[in-house]
Symmetry: C2
Subunit: 464 residues, 2 copies
Amino acid sequence: MEIRKIYLSEDEIPRQWYNLAADLPTPMQPPVTPDGTVVTPEMLAPVFPMNLIEQEVSQERWIDIPDELLGMLCRWRPSPLKRALNLERALGTPAKIYYKDESVSPAGSHKPNSALVQAWYNKQFGIKRLTTETGAGQWGSALSFACSLVGLECKVFMVRISYDQKPYRKILMSVWGGNCVASPSSETQSGRKFLEQYPGTPGSLGMAISEAVEAAVTDKSGKTRYALGSVLNHVMLHQTIIGLEAKKQLAKVGIKKPDVVIGCAGGGSNFAGLSFPFVHDKINGADIEIIPTEPQSCPTMTKAPFAYDFGDTSGLTPLLPMFTLGHNFVPPPLHAGGLRYHGMAPLVSQALVEGLLNPLSLPQLECYAAAVQWARTEGPICAPETSHAIAAVIREALKAKEEGKEKVILFNYSGHGLLDLSGYDAYLSGKLTDYEIPEEDLNAAVKSSLENLPPVEAKKSGKW
Amino acid sequence: MEIRKIYLSEDEIPRQWYNLAADLPTPMQPPVTPDGTVVTPEMLAPVFPMNLIEQEVSQERWIDIPDELLGMLCRWRPSPLKRALNLERALGTPAKIYYKDESVSPAGSHKPNSALVQAWYNKQFGIKRLTTETGAGQWGSALSFACSLVGLECKVFMVRISYDQKPYRKILMSVWGGNCVASPSSETQSGRKFLEQYPGTPGSLGMAISEAVEAAVTDKSGKTRYALGSVLNHVMLHQTIIGLEAKKQLAKVGIKKPDVVIGCAGGGSNFAGLSFPFVHDKINGADIEIIPTEPQSCPTMTKAPFAYDFGDTSGLTPLLPMFTLGHNFVPPPLHAGGLRYHGMAPLVSQALVEGLLNPLSLPQLECYAAAVQWARTEGPICAPETSHAIAAVIREALKAKEEGKEKVILFNYSGHGLLDLSGYDAYLSGKLTDYEIPEEDLNAAVKSSLENLPPVEAKKSGKW
């Protein structure tokens, strides 16, 4: 019988995270303020605990995962590596398709890999309460789950329109003891201001971030911090456990290296998690094609410039060096909400500048077609974000078929779609369309967002 | 590090199902028609394919699982055996709590274990199309999934009120290519009659069964059959793969036998699946307490008589020998929809008559409290049905603590609750209540249901 599921036992779990910053040939450029001042660790201290800030700026290649935390991660980790044997057969491809199944976490995605770590380090630092924002609720539910395990209070500001229209992840948060309010709320000064300025507003991620950060930094006890689910270096770091496990699992079936590594990228964390350990190998000479995928209508990696831009849409965060469509860019209402982000994690962006990655943008309808083919061959219902990895996998598998090559394709199955079924319904009933974003609209968003911000040069070693 | 997840590789999957009928000391009594005629295999042939009817009436102890089918089951099987280490710690119990995680199947429960087998045998028999009914949609989605893998058409009659109010499992069915219509529909004679008699009716499982069976038996091509998700002997048989795997997995961590085996029981299939291999051991002398659990407000095993009764609520099926509250009994609107069944599988019922089982009924609020404790310790969100197993596990673990005994408790984690979050919401916002069913109401339902039906004696060997 062909083996479809490759497990690691708990005592084979990786005991260190991998930090790509140590290996990038050109050093990462620092975050700055709008006047160009370099942001120091001390400046971040009111927002994040110092132990996570240390990870954020670390240049160490390997960072130990504390034993107690490993034990907690083992609730769902190591995650299975699975082979998509039936999709292979349906495509008639000689390629072998493997995937890390990150949908097995209690919150249903890779998000808890960092949420639990952040909650744990905050707890170690003496913090009592975390705040965050959430759109559709993936990150808010992952952080609620993590706080419930670690013993922290969790406050989630959820964009009001999602709060009203997508009750399911809100219920998840309550089950895990999270305190979720619709944003803008009357609980913060910025929330009250938004409500006064825009009565009846559906809210936005930008407003929710403002509220969450305010709620963290204005707590006079000093025991509240803020947590972010993607983009930052330490979040990428925590997710590398995915790729490190995958390497051990591939070795178990005699595979020395994958030929192609694929992950969808919104802020970049699930893609980075799987791929960075393989980017390490590529830097050291391995021949691996590494493909981050994104929606054609939010083409951060394929059409945007590398620039200093705000991490959020309302200009509260430091400026990060990244590929960005501009913080004013409003992506169309894609079902893959996790991929509707204007920027890209600085670490992913720098790997891209170096030429280590081959990004691919995909239309929504092709992704849903891939998701349905997946469900009818392999069985599970994938998240709309994950469908952007699967569509690329199918393209690569068909290319391998044309070329007659027995490639090994590895991808990140970042989450299930059981709480995102309405997108499938819209697709199956013919109500979905692709979105064409005119070049001039992209350019206008970039221009309006970046015109008063300090410039940054895309520095690269020229090796790739 | 303590091991929480015990895996079997695909080549360790059991290659035979276990048939409890071969080992029950008192032979099973046959299904009959209302005039007392014994139902023969031939009489069932318009409804089920003969290869499944042979399993239904088989007295063989072990029945081979065909290799091709094993390969297909390996999409999600063997399922993991997991240890609930964090619940143990939270309870401070010396008991070790293990569970089979059946939520890992694409449909999210144990149901595909039989759905796929039934679809495969129908396909082998030359059938092109399966029909079934579904309430909330668990079984309908499992069968749609199974038919999509095997290449059969699938027609699901879904109770109208669920069709309108619970769109999510309906969408699942479409993703897997199932054709789901609200029942009563205008597609069958019985559906049209119901619509004429009761305009605007919310529908019922009874009506939906009538439509599904009619759609199967009236197809003139002879290529359509009907499929049932619980109660029948062959469904119990297919589910025994759960318990057979669990035995191998317990052996891997050096456990010769569990002390307590627990599963919730609606029609009985997930309970039977885990427990029957251990009932076998108990018959052969092992000291194991085997506990099927049920809602206090639908107390089939703890308060109902053993009698011949219809399997459905509208009196279409043969009469089955079972514990039954009467087919006229209407359980209160529990969130654990899968446990709202008036009867109990004949095989489970006969094991109960023999004294091999220790059934337990539980109030809904205690079960939701257990589900929330589970989510906040172990992490995952369980199905409301599964919470009836977890509540019993907690009782047993606390008993072991009182007694200071290191018991091994094994239970069936029959499914996740990600599509049943509204029940959690109602519980957390204090809107749920327990239901008290007065004794006289139970008696009246039994009496009105059974008064014109042939009697049956509860025969037992007296060994337990």
